[in-house]
Symmetry: C2
C-alpha cells in the first residue's frame, strides 16, 4: 500500500504525453494529487500547484510518485538529485518504471538510512495463492477487449466514478502499473509468475457485500497471442458477473502484430462468455465501451448507434458520454 | 542445458512413487540414466546399476539428478552429505525441488569453489521474449486436456519415441520440471512471468525443417481455472498444426477443484480449435489419448472404442497400445 497523498514528479518530461501516469492520478484520484514537481525544461503541466519538496511535505504529501516516463531507460543524475532529496525530506518513492528504484544503489542506501519505502509497482510483493475457483460473495465486473490498449482501464475507472457518485458500493481493482499508482494498491498482473496469475486475481477481489461491485482492470485480449494467457487468468480468477466489451474501431491490426486482424465484437462476446461461464454460469455481457478518440463527434455518435443496433447492448464512449448507461446496466442485473 | 549422462539420486525415497522423476528419465531417456544412487532405507529401485559417486564418474556420468521428492520441503543433512560429495567429485547437480539447490548456502559455496553448476529446473534462466505470433516453419503438435495431469506429457513422449523409431524428424519440447530433467533442457512454463509465457513457448519451438515435428509438452487445461492462462499461452505461443485431446475418464472432478466437473471431449475439441485457429487457421485435431490406468483391459478397450465412435478420431491409450495410431494421424496431415 502506497501512502497518500502524493507529490507528482514530472521531471524533465519532453512532452505532455510522457507524464500520462501523473495525469491519470490527477484525473482519477485528484484527492491524491497535492501538487506537481517540475524540473528545468519540463514540457508537461498538470495545472496542479508547483511545490518544492518542503512545501509538499508541509502540505501533507507522503509519497513522491514518478509520474513520467524516463528517457533511455536510466534514472538520470538530475532525477537522482531530486529523488534522494525527497527521501531525506521524509517521502517514500513510488514508480512504475522498468528500471527499478531498488536497483539503484544510492536510492536503496538512502532509503534504508532514512527508513523510507521504495515502491516499484512493476514487481509483485505478495506471495499470491494458486486459484481455487470457489464462488465468492459480492459482484465483479470485467472489461474484455478486441485488442490491448483499447480503453479497458478507462472504462473501469469511469464506471467507478459514476458508481461512487450514485452512492453505489464499488471498488476499482487495478491490475497494471498505472492503475496501481492511481489508487496506491493492486496486482501487477503481467509480472506475476504463471502459476499464480488467476490466484492473484482472486486475492485482489475477495468476498464482499452482496451489493458491492469490484471493477477489475482488464489486460490484453483473448485474441492477442502475446498476452491472451493473462486475459484468461483475469476471467477465470475474476469470476465476473458482468462483462463489458471494449473496442477501438479505427485500429488496422492488433497492437504490435501487423499480421493479426482484430476480431468482430460478436466473436469477443461469444468467446468471453464461454470462458467466463466456466467459473460463473450466470455471467452476462451488459454493455459495450468504444474508444472513438480517433473520430469526429458526428462520426463517433453514428458509429456508437450503429454498434448498439448491431449488438443489442448499451454502447457508449465513456470519455465522450460518461459511463452512466454502463452503470445503469450493472444496476439492472 | 544439463550435462548428460546422469547418475540418478534416489536418496531415502519412502516408496517407489517418490522417485517418479528418476523413473521418467529411465523410461524415456535410458541412455541418460547410467546408474542409481540409493541411501540407507531407500524404498525405490529402478533396476539400474547401484553406483558410488566414483564409479559413476568413472563410467562417464556428468550430473547427479535429484530424481526423488524430498520430505517436508527441506534438503536433509543426510542428502546434503551426498550432494556435497558429488560436487567435490566433479558432478553438476540438477533438481526440480521447490526448495532450490542454490538457496542452500553450503551447496552454493561448494559448487562455486569446485566450478560446478547447480541446475534448479523450476527457475527460468532465459530472458524470454514477448511473443510475436509470426508464422514459423516446421510443424508442431500439442496435447490439450480436459484437466491437469491426464497424461499429456506421457502422450508426447510416447509419440516422440514412436517417431524416432520410424526415422521421422521429431523433438520432444518439455515445458515442466520432469520433462526438463528427462531431456536436459526446456522451459519451466509455470514459473515464467505472465507477459513472457507465450514468448517462451515460441522460443522453445523455433523455425525448423518443413517435415520436422515439435512435440510440445502440454500443461493445465483451458477448463481448469487455476492454470488455464498457462494452457492458452501454450496454444498461442505453440502455434500448433496438430492437437491431441487428452482425458482421464474415471476422474470425478477437476484436479484440486471438487466443485468443477470435467468438460466433455467435444467441448475440449471445439474450444481448443477456436483458440488455436487464431494463430494457425489450418490446425486440426488428429487424435485422442485416453489414460485408462484405472480400468481393467476389457473395460479400457471397450471405452476406447466407444470414444472413437463418438468422436470420429483415432483414440488410444498410449501406455497400453503405444502411440502408433496417433503418429499415423500426424504423418497423414
Amino acid at each position: 500500500m502506497i501512502r497518500t497523498p502524493y507529490l507528482l514528479f514530472l521531471g524533465d518530461a519532453p512532452d505532455p504525453l510522457a507524464a500520462k501516469v501523473a495525469q491519470g492520478i490527477r484525473d482519477w484520484r485528484p484527492e491524491n494529487a497535492l501538487g506537481q514537481f517540475r524540473m528545468a525544461g519540463c514540457k508537461a503541466d498538470l495545472r496542479l500547484p508547483d511545490m518544492t519538496l518542503t512545501e509538499a511535505r508541509d502540505a501533507g504529501a507522503r509519497t513522491l510518485v514518478v509520474g513520467v516516463a524516463n528517457r533511455g531507460g536510466v534514472i538520470s543524475p538530475a532525477w537522482k538529485k531530486v529523488l534522494v532529496a525527497a527521501l531525506e525530506e521524509g517521502f517514500d518513492l513510488a514508480s512504475g518504471l522498468h528500471n527499478l528504484l531498488r536497483d539503484e544503489p544510492d536510492l536503496a542506501a538512502v532509503a534504508a538510512a532514512c527508513g523510507r519505502q521504495l515502491h516499484d509497482v512493476r514487481v509483485p510483493t505478495v506471495a499470491y495463492p494458486i486459484a481455487n475457483g470457489v464462488k465468492r460473495s459480492g459482484k465483479r465486473c470485467l472489461a474484455v477487449g478486441t485488442d490491448c490498449s483499447v480503453g479497458k482501464m478507462y472504462t473501469a475507472l469511469a464506471m467507478d466514478r459514476e458508481m461512487q457518485a450514485r452512492g453505489m458500493k464499488a471498488t476499482f481493482r487495478p491490475t497494471g502499473q498505472t492503475g496501481i499508482l492511481i489508487t496506491g494498491d493492486g496486482v501487477p498482473l503481467d509480472a506475476v509468475v504463471a502459476d499464480f496469475m488467476a490466484g492473484a486475481v482472486e486475492w485482489l477481489t475477495p468476498d464482499n457485500d452482496p451489493d458491492h461491485w469490484d471493477l477489475i482492470e482488464g489486460q490484453g485480449s483473448l485474441f492477442h497471442p502475446s498476452y491472451s494467457g493473462v486475459t484468461l487468468a483475469l476471467i477465470h480468477g475474476g469470476q465476473p458477473d458482468a462483462l463489458i466489451l471494449s473496442h477501438e474501431p479505427t485500429r488496422a491490426h492488433m497492437r504490435g502484430l501487423p499480421h493479426f486482424a482484430l476480431p468482430p465484437l460478436e466473436a469477443l462476446r461469444d468467446l468471453s462468455l464461454a470462458m467466463a461461464r466456466m467459473v460463473n454460469p450466470a455471467v452476462q455481457v451488459v454493455g459495450i465501451s468504444i474508444n472513438t478518440a480517433a473520430m469526429g463527434e458526428d462520426e463517433a455518435l453514428a458509429h456508437l448507434e450503429s454498434v448498439e443496433r448491431q449488438m443489442g447492448l448499451p454502447t457508449v464512449d465513456p470519455f465522450r458520454q460518461g459511463a452512466g448507461r454502463l452503470v445503469d446496466a450493472l444496476a439492472a442485473l
